[in-house]
Amino acid sequence: MAEEVVTCRRVSRTYAEEAVPVHALCRVDFELAAGEWVSLAGPSGSGKSTLLHVIGGLDQPTEGSIVVDGVEITGLAAADLSDLRLHKIGFVFQAYNLIPVLSALENVEFILQLQGVGRAERRQRSLETLDSLGIPELADRRPGEMSGGQQQRVAIARAIVTNPVLLLADEPSANLDTATTEELLDVLRNLNRSRGVTIVTATHDPMVMGYTSRQVNLRDGRVVTTGS
């Protein structure tokens, strides 16, 4: 058995700000082994996005424990969570992934720069990553000059350029057509298989589910079934 990258124990997330408290997650247990590609599935409001967010340190659970790469992240200060996201986690979102004023290459470099990587190394790693995703020709284009699928590839490049322990993707294919979605999923599969990137996707796109190694179904904040 490979080591566990994520371990969630009895994780709950309750939104108490509403008039009626909403239990987005209810005592969820969830483990993720290195090299896995898990798909979180369920209708909207089932808690799949919330689970993705708490794992990624974007949101804090109300109860329970989350260990990412051996670090307990519940209760971490905001700055430490920022560092966690910067160094250990890569994010790909549904849309609005890139900094609009920067070219693809600059977008990828930007995150390395936040990590304090030197200029030459930064440039080299970014170009290599764009190459490995088959999009070297996009390097100098800005997000506004790219298609949705191209933007998502650049987003993936930015997410993996730091060699994160975990790649989180929230509805990455929501704005893409079928052919583009397939290309994107091929990219992710390639990453997962050849580079051993651990991936969690939250989606209700059935196409995605065909690619993943394991599927976790959520409903009303609880894990219903787990299967592959």
Partner: protein, 422 residues
Amino acid sequence: MTDPRRDARAGDTGAMFVRVAWRNLWRRRLRTWMSASGMGFAIFLVSVSMSFQAGSYDAWIETATSLMAGHLQAQHPAYFDNPEVRYALTEGIALTRRFENEPGIVAVSPRTEAFALVSAGERSFGALIVGVDRERDMALSSLPDHLSAGEYLPGADSAFLGTALAANLGVDIGDEIVVLGATGEGGVAALMARVDGLFDTGRPELDRSVLQVGIASMQAGFDLGDAVHRLVIETRDARHASDLKAILQAAAPMDVRLLDWNELLPELEQAIQIDRASASMMYWLLLIVVAMSVINAFIMTVFERTREFGMLLAIGMRPNAIVGMLGIEAVCVWAIGVVIGIVLCVAVVLPLSAIGIDVSGIEGMEQLAAQLMMPDRLYPSLNVNVLTESPLWMLAGTLLGALIPALRVRRMQPVEALREEE
């Protein structure tokens, strides 16, 4: 990892932030131009107005001090509060020579003074009689420049008086007048003089009440010997007169009191202060209005880019770094505004500072100028202070205006920010 490399990286990251900030500005071209133009407008107005202030204060001081008072005066310690004939400086000539040799002093002119009755025929008026050393006084006083008839003290028994006083006395060039006053000991002081010149300064209180005669005849008539009442001193720079005063006072004999123009002409100093105060009220108002516009522009910016900030937070950028980036954006807008404002200001003021503005041409200004002792031509003056003060205040206002909305980023929850509608 060595420190220099880390520093280089920090500079590198800074450059990237500046690039991102600069490009972000041009996502909303109009807004950036509007904010920058607003700042430029304010900087332009304030700088131009300050250059005129600086120019006119210098001119006020020069015009006012050159008429009678001078930059500095040496007097008997009691004379300033009680201008009585007996409070005189003895050994006037020696003291004059002594001050003339001091560094920083351009000219020194000894004067005697007394209130006395001036008579011509049956008519008598009270006047201030001033005894002057013709050559020395001409070197520093502008009163001879206001000559309207005759000559300036051509002879030992000449008198030089205001046109209004001459009219009141019913005298003209060539007429004899008699001055009757009291000596320092209370005896009768008398001297005869011939009207050889008239002056017209446009200031009624001078034209109606001042009469100049040669210092030697006044010293003789008022039994003063070698004594004088004022040593009027012109320095190299009126603005540093009080510093020079302190130096001179320390070296001066016990019975000599030095006074600078702030003390001699308190109303001048205070006119400047009032003008400054009312102008700075205006400047503050402008600054606040512009800063509020900046706040508004950044509220809109932060609002529009909430999702983008959410994404930046999600990929691990710290909130303070985002606030810093917005700060850089603000500084960039400010820099554009400064360029606009300063370029305009220099373009307007530089030619004017050479040729000056004819104030007397403006309706009603002529009398005002005479009243306030202003010259006819105003030369606005550009200096580092004028060109930096309003930009610096504006920078403070801009940063404040940008940071107030930007600090919202620190309270942003990335998840909620990402969910925000575009």
